[in-house]
């Protein structure tokens, strides 16, 4: 089941390879079918998921039953290394509370992304092949439980992303694409070294061999004494934690490694921005929760405050930058940085409330930011500009658009009743109840205020009042004397058309439903988060020593 959900898009990509490039509609439909297939599978997995099983590590008896679900485990590569025994790499997939929400989110965003890609008309075949490759890599990352496999999927994302930004992007796309590539690769090569070091440090208790299994690595008792990341090897464990953290922080992106993000977002086409913000950024924090923190819990305990500080900086700094933007897409990009700061803050709280808030915020940020970028795309398609002051008074002429924008904007600023509120509230509850992050929580609340400021201000400038004198659209009178908006060389419907509604309405519905009744997601993740907190807790560590 998990294999299918991962490799379905690749299958679609292979089919597309055989379709002549003139058949654009067939190519789009094949990709859409694959994405829907993923969606159906994701729902089936969700339905079959038992929220009472914790995951994170193996069960007390060392088996995976009663821990991970939908496990697929096959030996993939077995190498004879002579004196070093054998190198075992497994094809090892499974989900727990951390990944199930991300699987659902990825499937959802993939479908939205295909719909949003419908208007791409340049080199359609190449675009959708790369899109499918990206889709497989993202899904693979979230379900992989073998570090090697995870790393392959992680790196596999980079190349399609490079081309998707580089070929179909905006004017400055070359710079943005290579910057994205270099930043992420810089982070991940350290991960490669840590991965190799972990391999030599960890023994799978079931087989007695060295292993790449993320599950085995999450239990401290599997680390061998005297190995490079063994219990007493303090220096290397700190070094590994720091470089891994930087690697994942680049993806989040955390200040000061965030500068690739605004560039990438501004240049990327809308669907790629949606994927980037909706899924790719989550991989950073997912990696922290799955790999970085549980592997080196004592270092995590020691660096809570630092992580919290970076989270707070992200929140405030992102909000300030967003406040200064005149380009709507850049504003959304910086708001994304700000909102990922909440995730970091929640993680730094190191308690169930904070971590639940962080994971829930990851999901909500995925849906909300996807919506924001789609809405930016809608107006950019029509007006060919994203400058906030080139509009004004849009609410009167595009009422449906304005309505959905309002939902998304308010969800983003954390209005009660919408999903963003609940996750941010959890993060603050968690951060406030933990001694170490209490002051940071107080400072970070300012982020909400600034968030409200830039969001409401942009809303006001673009949608309220009258048309700006230098706006990019004209107004014509129709037969009844009402003003009708007119964009240059835009032939489609002025307000949202069916395809756009098909993308936006489900997202809006999810945001509202999860804002009112968050239990479908919270119920799934709580057991795993409790387990994660337990794995990270100092009590367990002292018991070990």
């Amino acid at each position: 089941m998990l294999s299918l959900i991962v490799f379905l898009p690749i299958l679609a990509g292979l089919i597309i390879l055989a379709v002549p490039s003139s058949q654009k509609q067939i190519i789009r439909i094949v990709t859409l079918l694959a994405a829907f297939g993923q969606g159906i599978l994701a729902v089936l997995i969700w339905q079959g998921y038992d929220p009472s099983l914790p995951g994170i590590t193996a069960s007390a008896d060392g088996s995976l039953d009663g821990s991970f679900q939908f496990v697929e485990r096959l030996p993939w590569i077995t190498l004879d290394l002579g004196a070093f025994g054998t190198l075992n790499i497994e094809y090892f997939l499974g989900v727990d509370g951390l990944s199930i929400t991300m699987v659902l989110l990825t499937a959802l965003i993939s479908i939205i992304g295909v719909l949003s890609s419908w208007t791409i008309s340049k080199q359609v075949k190449g675009y959708f092949i790369l899109y499918n490759l990206l889709s497989t890599a993202m899904m693979g990352c979230f379900v992989a439980l073998d570090f090697f496999l995870f790393y392959v999927f992680w790196e596999l994302m980079l190349l399609p992303m490079y081309f998707l930004i580089g070929i179909w992007g905006g004017p400055n796309r070359e710079y943005a694409a290579i910057k994205f590539f270099l930043y992420t690769l810089f982070g991940s090569v350290f991960m490669l070294l840590v991965m190799i070091g972990l391999y030599f440090s960890v023994i799978d208790p079931a087989t007695g061999n060295h292993t790449f299994s993320l599950v085995a690595m999450a239990s401290q008792e599997n680390y061998i004494e005297g190995s490079i990341f063994g219990p007493e090897s303090v220096f290397w464990r700190y070094a590994a934690f720091i470089v891994l953290f930087i690697g994942f922080a680049i993806k989040v992106p955390m200040f000061p490694f965030h500068t690739w993000l605004p560039d990438a977002h501004v240049e990327a086409p809308t669907p790629i921005s949606v994927i980037l913000a909706g899924v790719l950024l989550k991989l950073g924090t997912y990696g922290m929760m799955r790999i970085n923190f549980p592997f080196f819990p004592e270092v995590f305990q020691a660096s809570l405050y630092v992580i919290g500080v970076f989270g707070a900086i992200n929140i405030i700094y992102g909000a300030f930058c967003a406040l200064a933007q005149s380009d709507l897409k850049k504003l959304v990009a910086y708001s994304s940085i700000s909102h990922m700061g909440y995730v970091l803050l929640g993680l730094a709280a190191n308690n169930t409330e904070g971590m639940v808030g962080a994971l829930y915020q990851m999901f909500n940020h995925g849906t909300i930011t996807a919506m924001l970028f789609l809405l930016v795309g809608v107006i950019y398609d029509r007006a060919h500009t994203r400058q906030i002051d080139k509009f004004g008074g849009l609410a009167s002429y595009m009422p449906v658009y304005a309505g959905i924008v309002t939902v998304a904007w308010f969800a983003s600023l954390g209005l009660p009743g919408l999903s963003g509120f609940i996750s941010e509230a959890f993060v603050f509850v968690g951060a406030f109840s933990a001694e170490v992050t209490r002051n940071l929580a107080i400072v970070s609340v300012l982020g909400i205020v600034f968030g409200a400021a830039y969001l409401l201000w942009s809303l006001q400038r673009m949608f309220l009042g009258k048309r700006n004198p230098d706006a990019v659209y004209e107004l014509h009178k129709d037969a009844e004397g009402n003003d009708v908006i007119h964009f240059h060389d835009w032939k489609g419907k002025n307000d949202l058309d069916g395809r756009e509604l098909a993308m936006l309405v489900p997202l809006a519905a999810i945001i509202i439903v999860l804002g009112v009744y968050p239990m479908p997601v919270l119920g799934m993740i709580t057991t795993s988060i409790n387990k994660l907190v337990e794995v990270l807790s100092p009590v367990v560590l002292t018991a070990l020593n």
């Binding site: 590569i77 077995t78 190498l79 004879d80 290394l81 002579g82 004196a83 070093f84 190198l87 080199q123 190449g126 790393y151 392959v152 790196e155 596999l156 980079l158 190349l159 490079y162 081309f163 580089g166 070929i167 796309r173 070359e174 694409a177 290579i178 590539f181 270099l182 690769l185 810089f186 090569v189 350290f190 490669l192 070294l193 190799i196 070091g197 391999y199 030599f200 490079i228 290397w236």
Partner: protein, 511 residues
């Protein structure tokens, strides 16, 4: 006063030669092929066809059978200890023959060679001659034999580099190569003679045991080491003995560049590993990490400077061949990392890396040939807009380049993984080397991606036809190499087992 050998002694020598010849069949076969090619060039001179290339293609393929037969003869010293048959040498014999086959395939499709020269007869003869030299380099266990085989390779390479007689840069490259080659060979001979002076032996195992038993003056040995490393470093193209390589790679015909950058480099590594692991005394405690000489430090310097210099200077290149030349300097640095580890895992990683390097580098050069045939240019600027027009070449080039960077799922990634695993398996002593390795590979991403950048992200300045077709043969070979690069990036067990099988080194005292 010199005494003539007695009849019985001569008889014994002849017997040894006779018995040794059985173990020397691949080399004899290749020499016969060499002669057949010369003859067929003379006889069929007038006919402008691919006869010679096809003869050399089949001839080289045939030699694989003779090499395969040698698997049952391993552990054999022949010709009075001048030459050995071991799995290590057999591995490299396969490697060189396969490289030569790919070079011949590439040469058959190259317009540069087939249209702009007076004839390609001697070309294939020289390629086979170079293969003979490299095969002997991998098996030599005697200083004299090493020197002779290395010179054989160099001589063939000088002529091949200057094969485009009418092009100035080709001639210039050839002369440069010759001058640098002569100097570094001279240094190496001097180093060998000092070593001979220290020990009175030319056989590398004997050298090692004499050095150990009798002791030596460390300064003298250091001088000899540096001089010998200059010769080998020149062959593998490691900094600071790399100065010839960018000019030579740029000037030589592309298939020759590919052969030089892969096979000739690998031959240098074969020699280096054998010499370093066998001739250099490593102290009584051979198992532990206590090398008995300063060689390790020298190799580390070579490796680190190669990685940094090659990758950084490549950033400014505008010519694909020059870019790949600097990349090959950098790769020499990565391969040296595997040798520095000095254990089975390190050798295995080195050999694996060489195979992966063979696939990706030949692939990249093959695409460069295909494109040069169509555009007549090797400038990266002239690659603009080609990705869409030559879909296979574009996709394949991208795969080869990300493999050179070392990104999954390609064989180049596994190569780097094995090298870094070998380093980290030693604990924390080599972590800094691994760090240099990964950081320079991030730098390399930038210049490698310049090629896909121009192929896909930029539109050409001149109008180009919508699709550019190339011949059947280059397409097949390109596709084959691309699929292998990807396949072995995901299922690399066979390659890795092959490399593991080949780590057995005759007379090795390290493992």
């Amino acid at each position: 006063m010199y005494e003539l050998p007695s009849g019985a002694e001569i008889q014994a020598i002849i017997t040894t030669l006779k018995t040794s010849a059985v173990y020397y069949l691949p080399e004899i076969y290749l020499s016969a092929l060499f002669l057949v090619l010369i003859l067929s060039d003379l006889v069929f001179r007038q006919k402008k066809n691919q006869l010679l290339s096809i003869v050399s293609l089949f001839g080289l393929t045939g030699s694989l059978w003779f090499i395969w037969k040698q698997h049952s003869m391993t552990g054999q010293e022949i010709f009075f200890g001048m030459y050995v048959i071991d799995e290590f040498a057999i591995f490299f014999k396969y490697f060189f023959v396969v490289s030569a086959i790919l070079t011949v395939l590439m040469s058959m499709t190259s317009d540069e060679l087939n249209k702009r020269t007076s004839g390609v007869g001697e070309y294939y003869v020289l390629v086979v001659g170079m293969v003979i030299g490299m095969v002997m380099m991998a098996s030599s266990t005697d200083l004299l034999m090493m020197l002779v085989s290395m010179e054989l390779v160099s001589l063939a390479a000088y002529v091949l580099t200057g094969y485009l007689k009418r092009e100035r840069r080709s001639t210039e490259a050839s002369l440069k190569y010759l001058v640098y080659g002569a100097v570094s060979s001279g240094l190496m001979i001097y180093g060998f003679s000092i070593l001979y002076g220290l020990t009175g032996e030319t056989n590398i195992s004997e050298i090692s045991s004499v050095l150990l038993s009798r002791g030596y003056d460390p300064v003298t040995l250091m001088i000899a080491s540096i001089m010998i490393l200059a010769g080998i470093g020149y062959k593998v193209g490691a900094v600071p003995f790399h100065f010839w390589s960018p000019d030579v790679y740029e000037g030589a015909p592309i298939p020759v560049t590919a052969l030089l950058s892969v096979a000739s480099k690998a031959a240098g590594f074969a020699l280096l590993i054998r010499f370093f692991y066998v001739a250099v005394p490593h102290g009584p405690d051979t198992g532990a990490f206590t090398p008995g000489s300063e060689w390790l430090l020298l190799l580390m310097i070579l490796s680190v400077t190669s990685m940094i210099y090659g990758n950084v200077v490549a950033l400014w290149q505008t010519n694909v061949k020059r870019l790949l030349a600097y990349s090959s300097i950098a790769h020499a640095g990565y391969i040296l990392l595997g040798i520095i580890v000095m254990d089975e895992l390190g050798t295995q990683a080195t050999l694996f890396y060489l195979i992966s390097y063979l696939m990706m580098n030949f692939g990249a050069f093959l695409v460069a040939v295909t494109i040069a045939n169509k555009t007549g240019s090797e400038n990266i600027e002239d690659y603009r807009g080609l990705g869409r027009r030559m879909p296979l070449a574009g996709a394949a080039m991208t795969v080869f380049l990300i493999s050179l960077v070392g990104l999954p799922p390609t064989v180049g990634f596994i190569g780097k993984l094995m090298i870094f695993s070998a380093l980290l398996a030693k604990g924390s002593v080599f972590v800094w080397l691994a760090l240099v390795g990964v950081l320079t590979s991030v730098i390399s991403l930038y210049y490698y991606m310049l090629i896909p950048l121009n192929m896909y992200l930029r539109e050409s300045k001149q109008p180009l036809p919508d699709t550019i077709r190339s011949g059947m043969l280059p397409q097949l070979v390109t596709a084959g190499l691309m699929l292998l690069t990807l396949y072995f990036g995901i299922f690399f067990t066979p390659l890795s087992d092959f490399a593991r099988y080949a780590v057995t080194l005759f007379g090795n005292q390290l493992y």
